[in-house]
């Protein structure tokens, strides 16, 4: 068994003329907590999607737990868990039902008490029988996290998990992840826009910009390389100050449309 949990060599993904991920190479060690940082549209989510079998790379090699996500998709899926950046709940179902479906899909043994514990953990137990569509953004986010933690994979991917979370939940989530990391050797791969969060939790980080990795190492090393006091300063020194535009996806457009419908109905 190799030392690397994730091994990426020359990974490239093109969408038409746009190169979203450009010959990226990195590796994440078994049991490591690794942060993948970058401005909007830098290629973070695209990379995660390729690592998690949801998107086929244009070229390059990926090994997750020693397996190829494209050729051995099912085996790779058995080794990871994921908390997505955008919503992935069924909002017609209740919180409890969303958890139960996840438990069934991931064949979680003895799911009932675990679901109860996690719903209490994210403070949604009293609302477990409520349809998710009645939840606020923060509550949905908490449910996504509880669901992502229901099964204990070898590696867990979290794509901007703490976006829109209050500090209480954020801290609890990290306490939980550190415990999993310590007790079960779970590898944690996450993205975030909060540099302080990366600095505090990650053993190593990589900064990606315009599809290319511009810095990699421990938070201290990256700060040192830029002579920066904080990781945020180092990040800005590496990626510049201009604000990145992200095209609205068709999903965003549809959500806007739906909101329009709902407002009209009221």
């Amino acid at each position: 068994m190799s030392d690397a949990m994730i091994e990426v060599i020359d990974l490239t993904k093109k969408f038409g003329d746009v190169t979203a991920v450009d010959a990226v190479s990195f590796s994440v060690k078994r049991g490591e907590i690794f942060a993948f940082l970058g401005p909007n549209g830098a290629g973070k989510s695209t990379t995660i999607k390729m690592l998690t079998t949801l998107l086929r790379p244009t070229s390059g090699t990926i090994r997750v737990n020693g397996l190829d996500p494209h050729k051995q998709a099912l085996a790779v899926r058995r080794s990871f868990g994921i908390v997505f950046q955008d919503p992935s709940l069924d909002d017609q179902l209740t919180a409890q039902e969303n958890m139960e479906i996840h438990g069934a899909l991931y064949k979680v043994k003895d799911a009932k008490p675990k679901i109860e514990r996690l719903l209490k953990f994210v403070d949604l137990y009293d609302r477990r029988k409520t349809q998710v569509q009645k939840f606020s953004g923060g509550m949905k986010r908490r449910l996504e996290i509880a669901r992502g933690l229901l099964h204990h994979p070898t590696i867990i991917f979290l794509d901007e998990p703490t976006l829109g979370l209050d500090p209480q939940t954020r801290n609890q989530m990290w306490a939980y992840l550190h415990e999993m990391n310590k007790n079960e050797g779970t590898t944690v791969f996450f993205t975030t826009h909060y540099m302080e969060e990366a600095d505090r939790n990650a053993q190593r980080i990589a900064i990606i910009d315009n599809g290319k990795i511009v810095a990699m190492g421990s938070p201290a090393e990256v700060k040192q390389s830029q002579n920066a006091e904080t990781l945020e300063d180092a990040f800005l020194a590496l990626t510049g100050h201009s604000i990145r535009e992200e095209d609205a996806s068709s999903t965003d457009r549809m959500r806007t449309m739906m909101r329009g419908f709902q407002n009209r109905r009221r």
Binding site: T52, L54, L55, D86, L89, D90, L93, I101, A104, L105
Partner: protein, 248 residues
């Protein structure tokens, strides 16, 4: 197996949780039963063809199943847009089973919906020639529902948003309904129309319902079931392939 069950269960939960959807899906078949059943009934009778309601009711069942099934299948687009699809795509289970569960769920919903239409038709005066035939008729309804739910899922797996949906409705689903012989007997139509009806899977579905409920079929029950089963299997193969290749 548990994957198929949980995905089926999810479709059930969603369906029974939205009564407006149940009612809305009944409006169209009901309208057709009323407008055509009563509107054309006399003319049909005068043309010497007998009881139009007895002829029309199986056609309306076919219509109800066609529309509900295609919609259920295409719900996949909805799941993609609102994100739940990712949850099932990243899960460590066979995607073929995910698709089978979704499809079976959608087909169950469509069959249930059509059973309500059948009850309504009976209230309007429709009489099956043999009440025991309701049981095989329900099976035939489920088979037709599987066929069209799979067709909808297959299309949805290849579309990323709703823009292609309208096109499929106008150029495929509506013609499939109107040219299937759901509304008129196939034994007295011009050869062109008869040819088209022969390649329309709904023709065989409606014909099977007529054979079972009315006692007389155009193609013969054996042919109906054979054609429906083969097309369903082919579509399941195509649909699973497309579903397995979906990227998020």
């Amino acid at each position: 197996m548990s994957t198929i069950y949980i995905m089926w269960l999810r479709q059930m939960l969603r369906y029974f949780r939205s009564p407006p959807r149940i009612v809305a899906a009944l409006a169209q078949p009901l309208l057709y039963l009323l407008a055509f059943g009563y509107g054309f009934g006399r003319i049909y009778q005068m043309a010497g063809q007998g009881d139009y309601l007895a002829f029309l009711a199986p056609g309306i069942l076919g219509m109800s199943i066609l529309f509900t099934s295609i919609f259920s299948g295409m719900e996949l687009i909805w799941d993609r847009q609102f994100g739940f699809l990712k949850e099932t795509l990243a899960a460590p289970v066979s995607r073929v089973n995910v698709m089978l569960g979704r499809t079976a769920g959608g087909a169950t919903v469509a069959t249930f919906q059509a059973a309500i239409v059948l009850v309504l038709a009976i209230l309007f005066g429709f009489r099956p020639h043999d009440w025991w035939m309701l049981i095989p008729a329900l099976l035939a309804m489920f088979l037709v529902a599987m066929l069209f739910t799979t067709l909808g899922t297959w299309f949805a797996a290849m579309l990323s948003d709703f823009q292609g949906f309208q096109m499929i409705m106008n150029f495929l689903v509506m013609p499939m309904f109107f040219l299937s012989g759901a509304m008129f007997p196939l034994n007295s139509v011009p050869p062109v129309l008869s040819m088209i009806a022969r390649v329309d899977p709904l023709s065989y579905g409606v014909d099977a319902f007529r054979g079972l409920l009315g006692g007389a079929s155009h193609f013969g029950l054996g042919v109906d079931f054979a054609v429906l089963a083969v097309i369903t299997l082919v579509l399941l193969a195509l649909g699973s392939r497309a579903f397995s290749r979906i990227e998020a």
